[in-house]
Amino acid sequence: MSTTLRLAVRGIGAWTTGAPDWPALRGVLLGTTALAAAADAKPSAAVLPAAERRRAPASVRLAAEVAAQACAAAGVDPASLPAVFASTHGALAITDYVCTTLARAPLELSPTQFHNSVLNAPAGYWTIATGCTATSSALTAYHCTFAAGLLEAATLAVADSTPVLYATCDVAATGPLAAMAQTTRAFGAALVLDPVEAGTARLRLAPVVRADAPPALSATLDALAAHNPTTAHTLAVLQALAGRGAQTLTLPLSRGLSLHMEITP
């Protein structure tokens, strides 16, 4: 139907409560380890300078953590790496704060919370912390966010012949908004994608006419996905990357398309 995009996966990052990095999450995905019981409440996000880390909301810490893990695993310098940050809902807790404050006392809105509320706050903090002057973007496509963001990152990598960082993160909803955005758990993952395919894990991506059923997840992964389709789709791809043999996956991309993926770990 159209072009197949071919990419190597040079590095992977991941964070969720009880699995604070890719090796830990990989064990969970392979069924060899359980989620850690005494879990870290928040990502360390050591890549952010201390002052920024204090001001940064959970969504930014999560994105910075997984992005830094993926870059370290890939052995690439983030300073020249284009970055694509995807999220279904953005900084839900800040949206809750902003809307609550506007309903009560609009003139008391905090300037820091306001600039933290933009969907590209993770991209902003990340590029500032790493000195990245390449293009950075922030995107969403609701329940198609994972595949649409991956296609955007892959397109950028292939069109401009450059490795690209792709991160996808969602945080738990708070307040009245939680009834609309049913996300109960923070989850983030990042991939460094390289259009030079040699060596490591590989992805082949092609849009196909929409297939209805996204892949079913095991009960463990379903609990991790916590009602967030983007997290569920990310977990399905990470599980394929954690395995031994090549697999195919088809994830919803738009009203009329799915993204067909051949994944070779």
Partner: protein
């Protein structure tokens, strides 16, 4: 530097802003130096400022079949899709290529957050009122999902939300999709609407001017916020050899500060250089630059430095004095203004500037200027140091 790209044809475009509905209303106001800002009559809590409000939105409900998407932002999107044969152009590319071969890439910073704000004002025992309990509305993708439903576009679909560069970057994403043959045509654009978040958010940052904004004025004192919808249909040049062309873009990050531009403007310069490289143009070929020109002291100071690389025959203006800063819609709105400048041979004036900053004065058009324009740029710089620059050219450019 990036390699030169094949230009794309802009086969339809439209804009709706405080200047009115459709390209004719925009072009007339720009040519007549007639601005659209008015006293803030939007926020329930008083805030002394001028706003660029689109008239009549309150009386323009969505068609019944689309009523589930009802909110101010989607109303403005729907209104913005009507003029200038835009929906006909979308129908034509769908008929020609198939709905899954048409991409939809839109930029927004507000999306329908205004509806979420309203739900919080009207909470019923801590819950959203039933008529606002529509989950797809309370997400940053609401605009694009609505436009997909309204147009039938079914190809690659994406919302870019990088604050004030959002709907400039959509042109770049669409170009890559067409270049890699992942789509044959794209509807791109941006829609942002007035809401409490942006009015009181920019107020909290002390960036809102008490009166109408004065871009590039020595006494500039902040932004005026506006709302707008702007769209363009992009196709390969062979589909419309005589249509104006999207010829280049550049994107970069400042890596400096969340809400203040890099004082040396390195990111803005990099975006500009990449744009000229992709377009294969020397700065001397640029006839008009639609500046980001927000009228904050810092933005305009940084952006004025960029002008020094252009000859004085290159004319420049910010159109924020006409429409206000339409944030996530500004990239697409000002892309349409650049296209109108090329079409009509009119440099829009930098409305609101009385005493121009000396470092910008040689390039700044303070009154409308009539002359042939072959190449126009549009700058968009956003929060988080997110920069984008676009280049357009007449099909018959020398």
């Amino acid at each position: 530097m990036p390699e030169r790209i094949e230009p794309l044809a802009v086969t339809a475009c439209s804009a709706t802003s405080a200047l009115g509905r459709g390209c004719a209303a925009q072009a007339t106001a720009l040519r007549e130096a007639r601005g659209g800002l008015r006293a803030n009559d939007f926020s329930a809590t008083p805030l002394e400022c001028r706003i660029g409000r689109v008239a009549g939105l309150e009386a323009a409900p969505l068609p019944h079949a689309l009523a589930a998407w009802e909110c101010r932002n989607n109303r403005l999107a729907w209104l913005g899709l009507q003029p200038d044969g835009l929906l006909d152009a979308v129908e034509r590319v769908i008929a020609r290529h198939g709905a899954t071969r048409v991409a939809l890439v839109l930029g927004t910073s507000t999306a329908s957050i205004g509806a979420t704000e309203e739900a919080y004002r009207r909470l019923d025992h801590g819950r959203f009122p039933p008529e606002l309990a529509r989950p797809a509305l309370h997400t940053p993708h609401s605009l694009t999902a609505f436009v997909a439903a309204a147009t039938g576009i079914a190809g690659p679909t994406l919302t870019l939300s990088t604050a004030c560069s959002s709907s400039a970057k959509v042109f770049a994403s669409a170009e890559r999709l067409l270049r890699l043959d992942l789509a044959d045509a794209a509807l791109v654009g941006g829609v942002d609407t007035l809401c409490g978040s942006v009015l009181f958010g920019f107020h909290s940052l002390q960036l809102i001017a008490p009166a109408a904004c004065h871009p590039f004025d020595v006494d500039r004192d902040g932004i005026s916020i506006g709302e707008a919808a702007a769209f363009a249909v992009l196709e390969r040049v062979d589909a419309a050899p005589d249509a104006p062309r999207f010829v280049g873009y550049g994107e970069s990050s400042d890596a400096y500060h969340m809400s203040t531009p890099d004082p040396e403007g390195r990111g803005a310069k990099a975006a500009l250089q990449a744009t000229l490289a992709r377009a294969g143009l020397a700065p001397e070929r640029v006839d008009y630059i639609n500046l980001h020109g927000t009228a904050t002291p810092k933005n305009d100071e940084v952006e004025a430095q960029l002008l020094a690389r252009f000859p004085a025959r290159t004319r420049a203006s910010s159109t924020k004095g006409f429409t206000g800063h339409t944030l996530g819609a500004a990239g697409a709105l000002e892309a349409v203004f650049a296209l109108l400048a090329l079409r009509d041979g009119v440099v829009p004036p930098n409305l609101g500037c009385r005493t121009p900053m000396p470092e910008a004065a040689p390039w700044l058009a303070l009154a409308p200027e009539h002359r042939r324009l072959d190449v126009a740029l549009s700058n968009s710089f956003g929060f988080g140091g997110n920069n984008a620059c676009l280049a357009f050219a007449r099909a018959d450019a020398a």
